[in-house]
Symmetry: C2
């Protein structure tokens, strides 16, 4: 999917994908020097394997249900639930049902570029 | 309202407040050295007057409808719409209907503490 980053002042529709979910891949919504926002799309049973990113992040479950594992933490997120993960925390995300999530990444000054290739 | 900041690994319920909206005030959901997340609650007709914050921010309309003005920009946000505003952009938010929003603030290194007193 071609990435069309939104610009400041441009509203982005992040409503649930519903029946279209399986036609949509994970994609970046916007990226600046300080923030990156990505819609993560996972079909039931799919997972993002264990990885970590340089900055802090929040994960907001837009639809569906996922299980997040990070170190000793194991947390289920349903639609409308938000989770903070600290910088450099190794974590994995597994979809218990078709799910999409809003991933907001804080990009520390001087950190290497996009984290979207790792999520 | 007492502020109970969530800790990393603790899921936060940010589903629409619905009928409870007018009983809930704007409140911080979490704050670290790099990110602050606030639920902004505005009854129809209420507004956050023009202000600015040090970092970049995203505004996600959880429910209701707001009008955001920032410089020459005027943007209406409905539920499920996300908007990025650059650092130091003077902006105001006015509720066109009872609304709650997820405000995610990036806190630049060395910036003065909480921005929640200004939003």
């Amino acid at each position: 999917m071609a990435l069309q980053h939104a610009r400041p002042g441009e509203a982005i529709d992040i409503r649930p994908l519903g029946a279209r979910l399986r036609e949509v891949a994970t994609h970046a919504l916007l990226k600046t020097h300080a923030l990156e926002v990505i819609r993560v799309v996972l079909a039931a049973g799919e997972a993002q394997p264990r990885h970590r990113v340089a900055g802090e992040l929040t994960l907001l479950c837009i639809e569906g249900q996922v299980q997040v594992e990070a170190g000793a933490l194991s947390c289920r997120l349903d639609a409308g639930h938000l989770l903070l993960l600290p910088a450099l925390a190794e974590h994995s995300v597994r979809a218990l049902a078709d799910a999409s999530l809003l991933l907001t990444l804080q990009l520390p000054p001087g950190a290497p570029g996009s984290a979207s290739s790792t999520v």
